[in-house]
Amino acid sequence: MKIWTSEHVFDHPWETVTTAAMQKYPNPMNPSVVGVDVLDRHVDPSGKLHSHRLLSTEWGLPSIVKSISFTNMVSVDERLTYKPHPQNPEKTVLTQEAIISVKGVSLSSYLEGLMASTISSNASKGREAMEWVIHKLNAEIEELAASARGGMRTPLVAAALAEK
């Protein structure tokens, strides 16, 4: 049962966005992600890169959610797809959807609404996190380029770089 979908456009090219997605954590918007591990990674014969990752999180879950999860009645899957914008190669379209799978129980519309609004606000936080990571990566590139230009540095910039 699909309970939530959204589409968002990033003002950055696809290569930048996917690089940021690979390095999304840590970021200040998701303090509960405490670990990221790669369980499998390979490029398939068609040239597609597959990454299977495990995210370790420390959440304070309300006890009702904990008990539901432990009885395996409900699972929430989320799919994010980043595609180059069809009209503008400098932009990237993110399509996001959350699917709830329920075993033998029908989800009340109240619960569905509650979960959809939580997912929606998390998605907003997630996009903010992506912008933060993109900004950080671009700043690092800038800094590398500046130091490669070498003797063009002013004394003030040299001091700032030395301090880092």
Partner: protein, 76 residues
Amino acid sequence: MNSVGEGCTDMKREYDQCFNRWFAEKFLKGDTSGDPCTELFKRYQQCVQKAIKEKEIPIEGLEFMGHGREKPESSS
């Protein structure tokens, strides 16, 4: 970023650095000439798979929407 296995964090970071460089400088530019990170990955995997077993993290049989692998159209 840490690994789920505390002793694996350094190996993970070394591998991550290698992968990030390969991803941006080779893969995204269409260069499929080879993977410079296989050794680092092997070492890191040995460590993390052991940690996952020890912590009894249930990763077997995890599926997305009833599929063992991602659907092809989900990748860009």
